[in-house]
């Protein structure tokens, strides 16, 4: 996993909330790499900064009050943080596309699926309307929509949740990006539809050699689609590595706790071990390790010194006293 092969490399990224009287970072020193033809899952609970990390790659965070306060985001060798607005606009779509959580509210209700798709094409390519419509129909088919011609003329409110998420995927595919960022793409969907959408993402990786950055809070989703994973807690990456390695031998007490809290088929309710305590607010984080108050393995150093992300075995972990 050397730097030269990574398609997207986030280094030491911090994103902060800055308004008149407040200012603190929500994403703190995050480093991630998405390799070509790979699915990286970023997992963590609500508010851990995973969505904000994803949004800031394309600078889609609500700014103000959210600003990138440090670090770099290298895509294909270019630092996205330094791009001008018009350069960034050219990246959105043909280079990096994004799929959002709630497809029902993420599609403009006043336009047909076809219009939304063709205007996305025309925003980047100087082709005729017919050519754009042809690309749009292809994208709908590629997204796994059964009757593209019919859906083309339908409005978002006429689509079911699953079909509108496919329409979102089509919108992401229509400009043939190299990287797709999928922010909780299945959270709003039924379980059966979830599985279909995840299969579709896996096929896109396999057939088109795409890279996918998948944001999720669902460890089951991670296990079924991702190659590598990064676990986030309070805006930091606390553990990252191949999915099999992390699942088999979690080293950060938080990862360990998360996996211990997943119910297993045939298991007893008493097998579940919840993580005690609650997540500290981003403006009142402990000085040392942010997990210290909830950690059973905390040592003296944990309250005073912030651990750094370091290689340990086959994974990287941010902990003074890792498991195992």
């Amino acid at each position: 996993m050397s730097a030269s092969t990574a398609l997207l490399e986030i280094n030491d990224l911090s994103v902060g909330l800055h308004a008149r009287n407040i200012g603190y970072d929500i994403v703190r020193n995050v480093s991630l790499a998405v390799n070509r033809n790979e699915i990286l899952a970023v997992v963590g609970e609500s508010g851990c900064g995973k969505s904000l990390t994803a949004l800031s790659i394309l600078q889609l965070q609500a700014s103000p009050p959210l600003f990138i306060t440090g670090g770099s985001i290298l895509y294909d060798g270019r630092d996205l943080v330094k791009l001008s607005k018009s350069e960034m606009r050219k990246v959105r779509g043909p280079e990096i596309a994004m799929i959002f959580q709630d497809p029902m509210s993420a599609l403009d209700p006043m336009f047909t699926v076809g219009t939304l798709l063709t205007s996305a094409v025309l925003a980047h390519r100087s082709v005729g309307k017919d050519a754009a419509e042809k690309l749009a129909l292809e994208a709908l088919a590629d997204a796994g929509i059964e009757d593209p011609k019919r859906r083309f003329d339908e409005y978002p409110f006429q689509l079911s949740g699953g079909v509108s998420q496919r329409a979102m995927i089509a919108l992401a595919l229509v400009n043939d990006p190299k990287l797709i960022i999928a922010d909780e793409p299945t959270t709003a969907l039924d379980v059966t539809v979830q599985a279909q959408i995840l299969d579709r993402l896996k096929e896109l990786k396999k057939d088109r050699g795409m890279s996918i950055l998948l944001i999720t809070h669902n460890l089951g989703v991670v296990a079924s689609v991702a190659d590598r994973m990064a676990v986030m807690y309070t805006g930091e990456v606390v553990e990252t590595g191949a999915v099999t390695d992390v699942f088999e031998r979690p080293q950060h007490p938080y990862t360990n706790g998360l996996l211990g809290a997943v119910p297993r088929l045939g298991g007893q309710a008493s097998d579940l071990t919840p993580i005690v305590g609650r997540v500290p607010q981003p403006d009142e984080l402990p000085v040392g390790c942010t997990f210290v108050d909830r950690c059973s393995r905390a040592v003296a150093q944990c309250s005073t010194t912030r651990p750094i992300l370091h290689a340990r075995g086959r994974v990287e972990v941010r902990c003074h006293n890792p498991v195992g």
Partner: protein, 304 residues
């Protein structure tokens, strides 16, 4: 189909009820046309004789039935003060009022929407602050006072525009601005808040993520979404302009429906009041109908 039929029947019922209300109200408001029609020296007997000639001494209900009968035969009656045929008067008055009201409606949306968009696009800037403050003023200032103000400034002091009467375009400027002022102010505020609300919607982020330009997102997508509430309240704007026309036409001596109606009321010219106030009811009803048809056409959820 049944929805349309129901709407038509309701409109007819509304017209009947309001005709009755107007008919009764103007007769119960005291005084009658003899004060305006007969010389001050006329005796009580003269006045009574005149009332008898034009049928004012019959019971109100009988008068109303007679009136309805005439109207259904297409006879709108004559003015009691100068005997002019109302059907002839109406053509000219309606034409004049349509010109003034039409220009005012165009101003309400043609100025209100772009200003509201500018305020939203440059929110919290000095431009937004000025537009928003001006729109608060526009809502707060009563139109009769605004009329006096613009006449004093642009007519008496600067001499740019005539203060009253009818002629070329120059005569239209002051009355149409005064007539439209409050509507413009309300449309600015509504456009601004609708634009800002829609700018915060998830779909805007999706459009940005597809690489659409900000101006395309703003002028095509956010605007189209924001037009819905504006269209849905367009009926109210029409009603407002119709109501304000009474004041504005009178102040600016604009020979339209509003002016003849005000004069008719002052002189107790019953047929004039009855016809022209019903006309206003019709216009307001049609305005609301047009707004709801427009809303249906503009909203894909209702169109499909």
């Amino acid at each position: 189909m049944s929805a349309i039929l129901r709407r038509v029947l309701l409109t007819i019922l509304l017209l009947l009820l309001s005709s009755l209300a107007v008919f009764a109200a103007i007769r119960l408001s005291g005084g009658d046309v003899t004060a305006a029609r007969l010389p001050a020296s006329a005796t009580a007997e003269d006045r009574e004789l005149f009332r008898e000639q034009i049928g004012l001494n019959k019971p109100i209900l009988t008068q109303y039935v007679d009136y309805l009968g005439k109207v259904t035969r297409g006879d709108l009656g004559n003015s009691l003060t100068n005997n002019a045929k109302i059907s002839t008067l109406a053509v000219e008055k309606i034409r004049n009022s349509l010109i003034l009201g039409g220009v005012a409606i165009v101003l309400v949306f043609g100025i209100g929407i772009p200003l509201g968009m500018m305020a939203a696009f440059r929110r919290n800037s000095w431009l937004d602050t000025s537009i928003s403050s001006a729109s608060v003023a526009g809502m707060a200032i009563p139109n009769f006072w605004l009329a006096l103000l613009v006449v004093w400034l642009f007519s008496s002091t600067l001499g740019w525009f005539p203060s009253a009467g009818q002629g070329g375009l120059r005569y239209l400027v002051l009355p149409s601005i005064v007539l439209a002022a409050e509507g413009i102010a309300l449309t600015v505020r509504m456009t601004r808040s609708a634009m800002l609300e829609n700018l915060g919607q998830d779909f805007v982020r999706t459009l940005r993520a597809s690489g659409l330009s900000e101006s395309r997102i703003y002028f095509k997508h956010v605007l189209r979404n924001s037009l819905l509430p504006i269209i849905s309240l367009a009926g109210l704007r029409v009603g407002q302009i119709v109501g304000y026309a009474l004041v504005v036409e009178t102040i600016f001596g604009w020979p339209g429906v509003g002016q003849i109606l005000v004069n008719g009321v002052l002189r107790r010219d019953y047929p004039i009041v009855q016809f022209f106030s019903l006309l206003l009811v019709v216009v307001v009803t049609l305005g609301n109908l047009a707004a709801s048809v427009g809303y249906t056409l503009a909203n894909p959820r209702l169109r499909k």
